[in-house]
């Protein structure tokens, strides 16, 4: 129940494409769902986060879609750029705790 399952493991798109990364969870106590971006040799950095009271959140070219009934959430990157090439992690945590449970990561490559 503590797991967050992430797919795909890797993703290759051309510049301008819209990569989509999916995550699923089991524990209904989770109520905070962030996405982290990690470049090689760097630590993860918060990209965008959502709570289950909304179904979608946009920040720039990044959008989270959230389906509470299906216990799934996804990251969409609009007009992807080579600079978006990185590993993306979804995560989840329970209310009143900031212990993050991370997915296994998706390595995204955006080719010019």
């Amino acid at each position: 129940q503590q797991q967050v399952k992430q797919s795909p493991q890797s993703l290759i798109v051309q510049k301008g494409g819209i990569p989509i990364i999916n995550c699923a969870y089991e524990n209904t106590a989770f109520d905070y769902f962030p996405w982290y971006q990690q470049f090689p040799g760097k630590g993860p950095a918060l990209l965008i986060a959502i709570r289950p009271d909304v179904s979608e959140k946009k920040e720039g070219r990044f959008t989270i879609s959230f389906n509470k009934s299906a216990k799934q959430f996804s990251l969409h990157i609009m007009d992807s750029q080579p600079g978006d090439s990185a590993t993306y992690f979804c995560a989840a945590s329970k209310h009143n705790t900031d212990k993050l449970i991370f997915g296994t990561g998706t390595r995204l490559q955006v080719f010019p």
Partner: protein
């Protein structure tokens, strides 16, 4: 604003040796976390401090791992003795404070220490 600092960046040791990692969080951040990131996996929380007290160490292998945060600022994570399966990147993160309003605080990660145990 300076980020989370970690040292060393890389460490190679032989199994059964000991090793220590150091972390300096962002100034003013009361909460500090140590994560283990094995190649191809997401980070896994090892221990969480609030100031100099431990909040959660449920996933810390206490027979070989130890951590301390003296004076509520810098922290060290030690492994003694190291095993081959400890090869990973050890990430330190910090956040302002725990649950000020029930909302999660953003965690800021350092660059990590890459450990290779031979």
């Amino acid at each position: 604003e300076a980020g989370v600092a970690q040292s060393p960046r890389y460490k190679i040791i032989e199994k059964r040796q000991s090793v220590a990692f150091w972390c300096n969080p962002i100034s003013g951040h009361a909460t500090l976390y140590w994560y283990q990131q094995i190649l191809g996996q997401g980070p896994k929380l090892l221990i969480q401090f609030q100031n100099n007290g431990v909040v959660d160490d449920s996933q810390l292998p206490k027979d070989r791992f130890s951590a301390e945060r003296l004076k509520g600022v810098d922290s060290t994570l030690k492994i003694q003795p190291a095993k081959l399966e400890d090869s990973a990147v050890y990430l330190c993160a910090s956040s302002l404070f725990l649950l000020a309003s029930g909302d999660q605080e953003t965690q800021y990660f350092g660059p990590g220490t890459r450990l290779l145990v031979l």
